[in-house]
């Protein structure tokens, strides 16, 4: 007779813990709760300070990472409402092009064009997606996959907004610190803002729509209005990334609608863990630097993302963040089974 074991998971020793009520009694426990929240914030805020150590190239990577992380956050917010988006590039591109257009045509400064591009881009995407929100199922995914590709073709064909050459020579951002800190701060605001939002009653209703839209409707709630609001909020995060990067590169063109901006945020979110907002951010900070290292491989990188996506979706559906969270909050031991 061999001895068989069963894995048992136990919550770590916070004395009184009932769902979301904590009673704290010591510094140790306080640190236990605070560290995972405060440490990443400090780390993020100090990353730009390492400019002299790691060199300008990696600071650029930081900016790109923040932009992708913002897109991943916006993807995650939409997924929380049950809207699976395959075209985050739509938000990125809309924000980018509007900002570029305002700067290029009217010469408005970045202080004006970035906010306007962000809000306008988000509004444009929301209006574009409005009819699809009424449909259930994967229709939304199908349409969002198509729209950025078609918009890119549209611009290419009609030769508006610079056609396939794009608009270059846009105003640069004022100063290196601005360049580095704005995306970091925007990322932090979105990360904690979205986390807060989804834990409010409002967020509860949003998640309710994902789980059972009929029950929410019979609760006298206009789910289409809420879905549109969620798309708009998510759109603001995505369009900001586009608007900022436009001025960062001082260029906007067809690549703003490229597949990369759709599939990379998606991969980040799925790798990091859907539904937690921290997961997609973590995913972005793993994947984007990694893909910079792999830059030599060209388009093989997309193959690499795809492989990660499929492996994660099939084999690791909870994502890295949820795994770490579980390890942090619970310990496991083997128990003998009779």
């Amino acid at each position: 007779m061999s001895v068989r074991y069963r894995k048992e998971r136990l919550d770590r020793g916070i004395k009184a813990r009932c769902e979301d009520i904590f009673a704290l009694s010591s510094y140790r426990e306080m640190l236990y709760l605070l560290l995972p929240r405060v440490l990443p914030v400090i780390a993020l805020l100090s990353l730009p300070l390492l400019k002299g150590v790691v060199g300008l190239y990696w600071e650029k990577v930081l900016v790109v990472t923040c932009a992708i992380a913002l897109l991943a956050l916006s993807w995650d917010l939409m997924a929380s409402v049950g809207l699976v988006c395959l075209g985050q590039a739509l938000f990125f591109g809309a924000g980018a092009y509007l900002t570029g257009f305002l700067n290029h045509s009217f010469g408005w400064p970045p202080f004006l064009t970035i906010p306007l591009g962000t809000l306008g881009g988000a509004l444009f995407c929301t209006l574009l997606l409005l009819p699809v929100l009424r449909l259930r199922g994967i229709y939304f995914a199908i349409v969002t996959l198509t729209l950025p590709l078609l918009l890119a073709r549209f611009i290419e064909t009609t030769k508006i907004l610079g056609g396939n050459v794009g608009m270059s020579g846009l105003s640069p951002l004022p100063g290196i610190w601005f360049e580095l800190y704005v995306p970091v701060v925007a990322l932090l605001i979105c990360l904690f803002g979205f986390r807060r939002l989804i834990n409010e009653d409002y967020g509860l209703v949003l998640q309710g729509i994902r789980d059972n839209d009929r029950a929410v409707m019979s609760g006298a709630i206009n789910i289409y209005k809420l879905k549109a609001q969620a798309v708009f909020i998510a759109g603001v995060a995505g369009a900001f990334a586009g608007a900022f990067m436009t001025h960062y590169y001082q260029f906007v063109g067809m690549p703003a609608f490229a597949l990369d901006y759709s599939i990379l945020p998606l991969t980040c979110a799925v790798l990091g863990g859907v539904g937690s907002f921290a997961g997609p951010t973590l995913g972005a900070f793993i994947l984007v630097p990694l893909s910079e290292i792999l830059r030599a491989f060209g388009t093989l990188r997309v193959v690499f993302y795809s492989t990660i996506l499929i492996i994660c979706v099939v084999g690791l559906p909870e994502g890295i963040f949820h795994y770490i969270q579980r390890k942090y909050h619970q310990f496991e031991r083997l128990v003998e089974v009779g």
């Binding site: 509860l204 998640q207 059972n212 409707m217 019979s218 609760g219 709630i221 206009n222």
Partner: protein
């Protein structure tokens, strides 16, 4: 429209791909009345409820509620006007505590208008509501995950979800199905009490014995058509009703 009628259904029909689910059904409901809708399986009871609450658009006919036509309006608009319904299949938000399940209707504009509510206040309202449907307040039950509650509690959670809207008309779609005898016995007084408080109720039910104890009037559906309308025991004497129920009466 006289004032005492809360709901009038006029000749509504609906067919799904050639199969007529509801065929020209008309009835009306007085304020404060408790109406039962009965009929064999597949007689179109749930479809009728869906037609009234806007989840299914009728092919023809009219639904008039408090003097206003609500035919084919969106479900949330109808709910906002004060018609609340339960679903036959309970699908609560399993990963939430029971009382958090009620946040969603409590968040609606209707509730905000009727009694306000900020973050936190809603939690209290939710626990009050759960107590109303028999969740023991001082126990852990209202705070337990919905996934860990027994079926009878989930059904009553569904009822509480409706009551959260402060409805004027409550439609219960087979509330008792899947409940044990004792659970039914403890839920019946709740419904009676609501009805005595002036709430109009429509109950779609298979458990005739319990229904007949509290219903003022029942209508009988068979193959989508109304075959009888009247006080419970009078209706059951009709030949047509007997024929429709032949063989299935024993179940109750």
């Amino acid at each position: 429209m006289e004032d005492s009628t809360i709901l009038t259904v006029e000749r509504v029909s609906k067919s799904f791909g050639g199969v007529v689910a509801v065929d020209g059904v008309s009835f009306h409901l007085e304020k404060g009345e408790l109406l039962g809708i009965i009929g064999p399986n597949g007689s179109g009871k749930t479809t009728l409820v869906n037609l009234i609450t806007g989840f299914v658009r009728p092919d023809s006919g009219k639904v008039i509620y408090q003097g206003k036509e609500i035919t084919g309006k969106m479900p949330y608009k109808i709910a906002e006007l004060g018609i609340a319904r339960t679903f036959q299949m309970v699908r609560p938000f399993y990963q939430l505590p029971a009382f958090k399940n009620l946040i969603i209707p409590l968040y609606s504009p209707r509730v905000k208008k009727l009694r306000g509510g900020k973050y936190g206040e809603r939690d209290d309202m939710a626990v009050d509501l759960l107590e109303e449907v028999g969740f023991e307040r001082d126990s852990f039950v209202p705070y337990k995950m919905a996934a860990s509650l027994p079926h009878g509690y989930l059904k009553r959670l569904e009822l509480a979800r409706c009551l959260a809207l402060r409805p004027d008309l409550l439609i219960l779609d087979e509330l008792f199905s899947g409940m044990s005898m004792s659970e039914v016995a403890s839920t019946l007084p709740i419904i009676e009490r609501l009805n005595e408080g002036g709430l109009s109720i429509i109950m779609v039910e298979h458990r005739l014995k319990e229904l007949f104890r509290i219903a003022n009037r029942v209508i009988v559906l068979n193959f989508g058509r109304k075959i009888a309308d009247g006080p419970p025991h009078q209706v059951m004497k009709k030949e047509e009703v007997k024929a429709a129920y032949l063989g299935s009466e024993g179940e109750t």
